[in-house]
């Protein structure tokens, strides 16, 4: 492994690139070689540094000196004077404010000051295909601390004290899961990372795996140490090919450096990680279905109990956590449970990564403390509604979550507050819709999804989703009557109470919330046969035909 005395970041973001940043970087590499400095100083081309007006920009570390407006003819002077002789080139110095705003300017999305990155701390800042970049940002330090200074029980206590809850959707306390797995008896134990991110509108796990794969590996090793497992499986969605290749590369590098494999950090702890690819089944995000899929079976959920911590993979105690949950672990170990538990709100600590999509100005991923309101995210990070249209409804938690009307925009986003208003935090998907969308059409889209993704094992889910879709389809075509609304609700009750797994139980969440908050729109479709947005084509056509008939009569 090479050690460098200095690093030069050359900005090759859009603006700097247009001003010749790429060329400056090329000359810089050449000049460093000429002076024999290429083994001492590393050049890294980076994304936007935030001071576009001064481009092309470069920063020399560890000094933290910024040079702006650097032209190719200035490069040699910087190399000779600054790097060789240690004298700053005053005429090129660019004064960056030392205010916090500029310190965090590496983030592309610094437009939103409430963002707090724990889970995404390295995404976009490191080369995901180079383990050294990860180590340079304290990577694998938490694993070292855990293995050399803490007992497994102490690690578990830390996670319990931090208040971390599972980020896959259910919000179960992570520390408790770890404790149960630790206490269970088995010939062998396993750690499984649930990376089967199938909830529509969610891409946080993909970003973590593609942008910072080692975080997941390190967290799994720590989990393995805590619960007493020596093998980990990452179950990745089959569609996420880039994530699979980055994870594979990361595992290879980690094994080469000895942070995965045998006798980690000179302890007697061994840990290996294997990847299993999913094959396109939403239900496999449910933990027992996922385990069945690793076992080479159809991904059908099992009756619980027994829960995976007692009887999981191949009947052995298994800890199964979502990727985002795991990504918090190294930070908790390094900064302490106390630090973590002060972020967010009392019963829901830490941050949450939200995937914002739909009719907002800026779509994308944002990480904020738990309890941030929906309005703050839409107006802050989202930059408000697109095209100046009015907000109508937001679906939180993905397709299995509920719909929130305008009056509830100030609801804090955490597991309990959202459950109170009939929605869910779920995977952190936020689908924002404006007034141009029809509630019935949207609900139909949701149920169409579940109808397709139901595995068919239990009747309430297999039949319920199909019948609900059919009823919504009838409503959207003006072929329904008021009884269907009662039937919808009855069926929703049956499903949420009797379906075998979370898929069927959560499928009607959006039906409940749209019936509660947007009943008028359902009524308009049923009684007046009107779809004000025009999304329900059949109703529009019917009305037009009616009008034509009226004209000729």
């Amino acid at each position: 492994m090479a050690f460098y005395r200095g690093h030069i970041l050359v900005c090759t973001g859009q603006e700097c690139k247009q001003k010749g940043g790429k060329e400056v970087e090329r000359i810089l590499v050449k000049e460093l070689k000429r002076f024999g400095l290429n083994d001492e100083i590393k050049v890294i081309s980076t994304d936007c540094l935030g001071a576009c007006e001064a481009g092309p920009l470069m920063v020399i570390y560890p000094e933290g000196v910024y040079y702006g407006g650097v032209q190719i003819e200035d490069v040699r002077e910087i190399v000779e004077e600054h790097l060789l002789k240690g004298r700053r080139v005053n005429r090129l110095l660019y004064e960056m404010d030392e205010s916090e705003e500029n310190v965090t300017a590496h983030h592309k999305k610094d437009i939103f000051s409430d963002e707090m990155r724990i889970v995404l701390r390295n995404c976009g800042l490191i080369d995901p295909e180079d383990i050294k970049d990860y180590i340079g940002r304290d990577g694998y330090r938490a694993l070292g601390i855990a293995l050399t200074r803490l007992t497994p029980k102490e690690v578990i206590t830390m996670i319990e004290d931090s208040g971390l809850r599972g980020r896959g959707g259910a919000g179960f306390p992570a520390g408790l899961k770890w404790k149960f797995t630790h206490q269970a008896d088995g010939d062998e134990k396993y750690v499984v990372a649930n990376a089967d991110e199938g909830e529509p509108g969610t891409s946080k796990d993909r970003l973590i795996m593609e942008g910072d794969p080692h975080t997941l590996l390190e967290s799994m090793a720590i989990a393995g140490y805590a619960v007493g497992a020596d093998t980990g499986y990452i179950y990745v969605r089959g569609e996420y090919q880039l994530a699979v290749s980055r994870l594979k590369k990361a595992i290879e590098q980690a094994e080469e450096l000895g942070v995965l494999g045998k006798n980690l950090f000179d302890s007697d702890f061994d840990f290996e990680i294997k990847i299993r690819e999913g094959a396109g089944a939403y239900v496999c995000g449910e933990e027992t279905a996922l385990l069945r899929s690793i076992e080479g079976e159809r991904g059908e959920p099992q009756i619980k109990p027994p829960y995976p911590p007692n009887e999981g993979l191949w009947g052995q105690p298994t800890l199964i956590n979502n990727v985002e949950t795991l990504a918090n672990i190294p930070v908790i170990i390094q900064k302490g449970a106390d630090w973590f538990s002060k972020i967010g709100i009392e019963n829901c600590t830490g941050t949450k990564v939200f995937t914002l999509s739909g009719d907002v100005m800026n779509e994308g991923l944002v990480e904020v403390p738990m309890g941030t309101t929906l309005r703050e995210i839409i107006e802050g990070f989202g930059g408000g509604m697109a095209d100046g249209r009015e907000f109508k409804v937001a679906q939180t938690g993905g397709t299995s979550g509920g719909c929130i009307p305008k009056e509830l925009l100030d609801t804090p986003m955490d597991y309990d507050s959202l459950a109170e208003v009939g929605s869910a935090l779920g995977s952190g998907a936020l689908l924002i819709m404006d007034e141009s969308h029809c509630i019935v059409d949207i609900a139909k889209c949701f149920m169409h999804f579940f109808e397709h993704e139901s595995c068919g094992k239990c009747t309430p889910c297999r039949e319920g989703n199909t019948r609900m879709y059919e009823m919504l389809d009838r409503i959207s075509k003006g072929e329904s009557n008021l009884k269907d609304l009662d039937k919808l609700r009855d069926l929703a009750n049956v499903m949420s109470k009797t379906a075998l797994c979370g898929l069927g139980q959560a499928a009607p969440t959006s039906i409940y919330s749209t019936l509660d908050y947007f009943k008028d729109e359902y009524l308009a479709h049923i009684t007046a046969k009107v779809c004000i947005t025009g999304d329900c084509q059949e109703l529009v056509t019917q009305r037009e035909e009616g009008e034509r008939k009226g004209e000729t009569a």
Partner: protein
């Protein structure tokens, strides 16, 4: 065919229950999982055919029927729906002259629907084989199809 399947299975000897991984690789090599292929996989893994078929037919990404050279998958999840994925689908249907689940006469394209591809920031999106395309417009679709 037999040799290909054998070779893939040998590569997974040290793995516990690798059926799905094996089916993935076999499909990569042979295009789709025909009855003949599944019988051979069952034989070499010493599993009942019913189980191998049960698994192959359960998962969307495993094909038990022959598909065109390129598979176009249109995301039909809510975020893409909101951004007009139905228009994309209509456009593709007329461009290719086929319906969902069908293959063009020249065997070049098959058209399918898929659940969320996780690229909601660039909705509406489609995936052609392993490649994802977003922010689609009618013009862009035309250009994408021309590439194949």
């Amino acid at each position: 065919m037999e040799a290909v399947i054998k070779e893939i299975i040998v590569g997974y000897e040290s793995e516990k229950t690798p059926l799905i991984s094996i089916l993935h690789r076999v499909q990569d090599k042979l295009g789709y999982l025909s009855e003949e292929v599944l019988k051979l996989v069952a034989k070499y893994l010493d599993l009942p055919l019913s189980k191998v078929y049960g698994v192959a037919s359960f998962y969307t990404l495993l094909d038990t029927e022959e598909k065109g050279e390129n598979i176009v998958r249109v995301c039909e999840s809510a975020p893409c729906h909101v951004k007009g994925s139905m228009n994309v689908l209509t456009e593709l249907k007329s461009e290719l002259g086929i319906d969902i689940g069908e293959t063009t006469k020249d065997n070049k394209f098959s058209l399918e629907l898929t659940s969320c591809l996780g690229v909601c920031g660039v909705a509406p999106a489609i995936m052609v084989n392993d490649q994802v395309y977003g922010n689609l417009t009618a013009k862009k679709l035309e250009e994408i199809l021309e590439k194949y």
